[in-house]
């Protein structure tokens, strides 16, 4: 896992090179200016050292030209870093389409992952190489953070909402991930590994752990057992409550506010705090499920409602690649 120079972190995602490029640019600027200022100071300190105790140098008037020069040059350089850094960040922030969605729940002091096909993992995350993976994350207690240094990504996991981050791994391997937001006693133990596998190996791994209920299926069972069906309909086609088929990703018109895009956060809020956003044409009659569901159960319900809108692209992952050499040494992009 170590590179030739052991003080550079592994670079194993599609964006890690971009982040490193900004990093090395700022490093270059830093080294240049620190060296320049140090050398000038050392030169002045030697050249203009006090040679006798009574010498008084002539005072020098300041110079507006110089002041302008050394305000504008740093400003230009600073803005170049700002623009580049923001550009890379923006690309890194924009959620990808058709990503493999993995649900993540943090709790003191462990990480729980669940794949769309139902496999659960603790403190270990298996992902295929060359495929965009989106982590949809929440926490059962305090703020945590999923930090994967080799992928140069980090995002806080905040109670009461979903945050997300995504990556596309470029090299099979085993990479550390860490909780990077202090979360109490065993914070430094809240870490694990991301296991990046060849797509074929990943599919084998998935099928080897297949006998678990997918989050959407678990959510559907819960949808029935919690009695959601009595208002939203047996197939979520609607009734006294709004229909849920096709709601995810659509624009929902509200009677008590502007229209909102129905994302995971909206679905979550509408279960936990139904009065916050009322769909036009419906009464505020839904009871709150605050405190009655674990974060994983909530994620299941959200996954079920999402599955009513989109044909899940994730489920196709289990298909073995049509061609491919058995143990390829190079990273293989599955497309």
């Amino acid at each position: 896992m170590q590179s030739w120079f052991p003080f550079i972190p592994e670079s194993a995602s599609t964006i890690s090179g971009d982040v490193d490029a900004v990093y090395f640019y700022v490093s270059g600027v830093t080294v240049f200016f620190v060296t320049l200022i140090s050398l000038v100071i050392i030169f002045f300190v030697i050249r203009y050292r006090r040679r006798n105790a009574f010498e008084i140098p002539r005072p020098i008037e300041g110079s507006h030209k110089l002041e302008t020069l050394w305000s504008v040059i740093p400003l230009v350089i600073a803005m170049s870093i700002f623009v580049w850094g923001a550009k890379v960040y923006f690309a890194q922030y924009r959620p990808p389409q058709n990503a493999l969605e993995v649900y993540v729940v943090g709790k003191q002091w462990m990480w729980k992952f669940q794949h769309p096909t139902g496999q659960r993992e603790i403190n270990e995350l298996h992902v295929p190489v060359g495929r965009k993976v989106k982590l949809i994350m929440t926490t059962e207690d305090v703020i945590h953070d999923v930090f994967i240094p080799a992928f140069r990504i980090k995002m806080d996991v905040v109670p009461g909402k979903y945050t997300s981050e995504w990556f596309e791994a470029t090299k099979p391997g085993r990479y550390h991930f860490f909780c990077a937001e202090y979360c109490g006693m065993n914070h430094s133990g809240m870490r694990g590994y991301v296991e990046v596998m060849e797509p074929k190996d990943f599919d084998n791994w998935l099928s080897g752990n297949a006998n678990q209920m997918s989050p959407a299926a678990a959510g559907q069972a819960m949808f029935e057992s919690l009695g959601c069906v009595s208002c939203h309909g047996a197939n979520a086609e609607g009734g006294r409550g709004p229909a849920l088929v096709g709601v995810y990703g659509s624009n929902v018109v509200l009677s008590n506010g502007p229209a909102v895009k129905a994302d995971e956060g909206y679905l979550r809020e509408s279960i936990i705090n139904p009065q916050a956003k009322i769909v036009t044409g419906f009464g505020p009659i839904m009871p709150s499920f605050q405190g009655q569901l674990t974060e994983e159960q909530l994620l299941g319900l959200v996954a079920y409602i999402k599955s009513l809108s989109t044909p899940k692209p994730e489920t196709t992952t289990a298909k073995p690649p049509a061609t491919g050499t058995p143990q390829s040494a190079n990273p293989v992009r599955q497309q």
């Binding site: 203009y48 005072p59 600073a78 960040y89 923006f90 990077a180 202090y182 430094s188």
Partner: protein, 554 residues
């Protein structure tokens, strides 16, 4: 050159009165400065012990020195003690308290009793915090992030919060006192543009203290209400938002960084100008850059929240503003450097600290660019890169400036000279030790080592190598800090008696005996010259005209 020799008077502020009561009830800003000096030295010592414990624990990847819960308390308490009880009061409450009236030709601060009150408030807050540490400690990190601090931590969060809440008022009172004093008590002829830059930077600092500190008081209060009564403001289940706490906390705590570093910049401006016998290059730019930092410093708190689920557009605005706030600091560095040009530079201990400050502050400031930039901050935030960056600003910046200032004004404060050889030696040791401690941490952070980690993976051999280097550096730094403690104490009794103006400088504080009388000046000074005026103004050279190289020596 004119020599100012004033025969030492029989009484000065130190021997004007005797007895514990004369100190505890004093209204003399110089004595209060010494009371503060005692306080911050005590807290610095405690904070340093915690630092050594952290460095020892991290020598190995396993947690073999302490339990995780103990380690978490150690780094939390290191941060709380150092930030709230050493760094924030350090320069303003000691050197500032002593020198603000003396530099403007005043007899005291505007509100001497409020000044004394501020020290009592500071000590009360400190004692409550120390009580919390002894009773069982606090483990939330010095940042007190919710909901860990409100709901999950079983440590003495409330007691510590009370200590910090109370101590904040001492900051507010000090800031208030400085602002009123600088506005109303300048000696005849002391116009705003004749003020030493030390005064400008303390003025800017005071603005932050007055405007920022109430926000941390409110934040701590809300934290207490949430913890005690569960009002729900930070709790999503009750409609609150845990991230709101971070906004409130950093709205004070980012400007608080400037409370720590602006006074240090003021000290360094004095050191660079006086020890090269030059007027400061671009006086007005340096003066107004302090005010610019104070104002813009309030607009950048969101750069602490780039990965805290803040919106991407808010992130971009805060990133932009953070780059903008770097410019006034850059202006200062360039002007200090230009001041050295054609100066008469001495290598006395205070100057060594001043030069060291410029180097370390430049590194600290430049590495801030990595964190203002969104893409790199995502990778580096909450890692050791942050730890290294802010220690370069706070230790490399504030602590070095404090030590430089302490040596510079030591003859005025104590009436004795410190041993110059030991001074230079310890300045060198501190510089080397500091760099060895904190430069490896930049690499650690880039490698991905998160901060506040008690243990780290055994397979990361390079991490351990870097930690060992850092701990070795911390030992050297510790020695470098012990040496001045010993020789400064020694000099109080055995040091050479200081003249009134041992460095031969034009500043007002040097035109009075060492140590000064209680009323500072034997008669009210009348100011007729520009700041840092070593030579008559008609000899002034316009930069860039090299042909008139008149012999400058007297």
């Amino acid at each position: 050159m004119e020599e100012f020799t004033i025969p030492p008077p029989r009484t000065n502020y130190l021997n004007a009165e005797y007895g514990l009561k004369s100190w505890l009830l004093t209204k003399d800003h110089k004595r209060i400065a010494l009371l503060y000096m005692g306080g911050i030295s005590f807290f610095f010592f405690i904070g340093s012990l915690y630092a050594m414990a952290i460095r020892l624990e991290l020598l190995t990847p396993q947690g073999d020195l302490t339990q995780s819960s103990t380690y978490n308390k150690i780094f939390t308490q290191h941060g709380i003690i150092m930030v709230f009880f050493f760094l924030i009061p350090s320069i303003p409450a000691t050197l500032g308290n002593f020198l603000v009236p003396m530099m403007i030709g005043a007899k005291d601060l505007a509100f001497p009793k409020i000044n004394l009150l501020s020290w009592y408030i500071y000590m009360l807050g400190g004692i409550i915090t120390i009580y919390a540490l002894l009773a069982g400690g606090v483990d939330t990190g010095w940042t007190f992030y919710t909901p860990y601090s409100t709901t999950f931590s079983n440590s003495y969060v409330l007691t510590t919060g009370v200590g910090i809440f109370i101590t904040g008022f001492s900051s507010i009172l000090t800031g208030l006192n400085f602002i009123v004093t600088i506005h109303t008590m300048r000696a005849p002829g002391m116009t705003w543009y004749r003020l030493p830059l030390f005064i400008w930077s303390h003025y800017a600092t005071s603005l932050i203290m007055i405007l920022g500190t109430p926000v941390i008081a409110i934040t701590v209060l809300l934290l207490a209400f949430e913890r005690l009564a569960h009002i729900g403001i930070f709790d999503p289940a009750a409609g609150g938002d845990p991230v709101l706490f971070q906004h409130l906390f950093w709205f004070y705590s980012h400007p608080a960084v400037y409370i720590m570093v602006l006074p240090a910049m003021g000290v360094v401006s004095e050191l660079i100008a006086n020890f090269s016998r030059k007027n400061i290059f671009g006086y007005k730019f340096v003066a107004f850059s302090s005010l610019a930092i104070a104002v813009f410093g309030f607009l950048v708190w969101g750069h602490h929240l780039f990965v805290a689920s803040q919106s991407v557009y808010a992130g971009m605005i805060f990133s932009f503003l953070s780059f903008a706030v770097a410019i006034p600091s850059a202006i200062k560095v360039f002007n200090w450097t230009a001041t050295l040009y054609k100066g008469s530079i001495s290598y006395d201990t205070p100057m060594l600290y001043g030069l060291g400050f410029i180097g370390l502050f430049t590194i600290g400031g430049m590495t801030g660019l990595f964190l203002a930039s969104l893409a790199t901050d995502v990778h580096l935030s909450d890692t050791y890169f942050i730890v290294a960056h802010f220690h370069y600003i706070m230790v490399g910046g504030t602590l070095l400036a404090y030590l430089g200032g302490l040596h510079y004004w030591w003859p005025k404060i104590s009436g004795r000279m410190y041993p110059e050889g030991w001074g230079r030696f310890s300045a060198l040791v501190v510089f080397v030790g500091f760099n060895l401690t904190f430069s490896p941490q930049f690499v650690l952070g880039y490698m991905g080592m998160p901060r506040r980690y008690h243990t780290y993976p055994v397979d990361m051999v390079s991490w351990q190598v870097l930690h060992v280097l850092s701990t070795a550096g911390a030992s050297i730094l510790g020695v470098g800090l012990l040496i001045p403690l010993i020789y400064l104490a020694w000099s109080l009794r055995y040091g050479r008696i200081a003249e009134s103006n041992p460095w031969h400088l034009p500043g007002l504080e040097w035109q009075t005996p060492s140590p000064p009388p209680t009323e500072n000046f034997l008669e009210t000074p009348i100011v007729t010259s520009e700041p840092y005026e070593f030579a008559p103004p008609e000899t002034k050279e316009v930069v860039g005209k090299f042909e008139k190289q008149a012999p400058a020596q007297a």
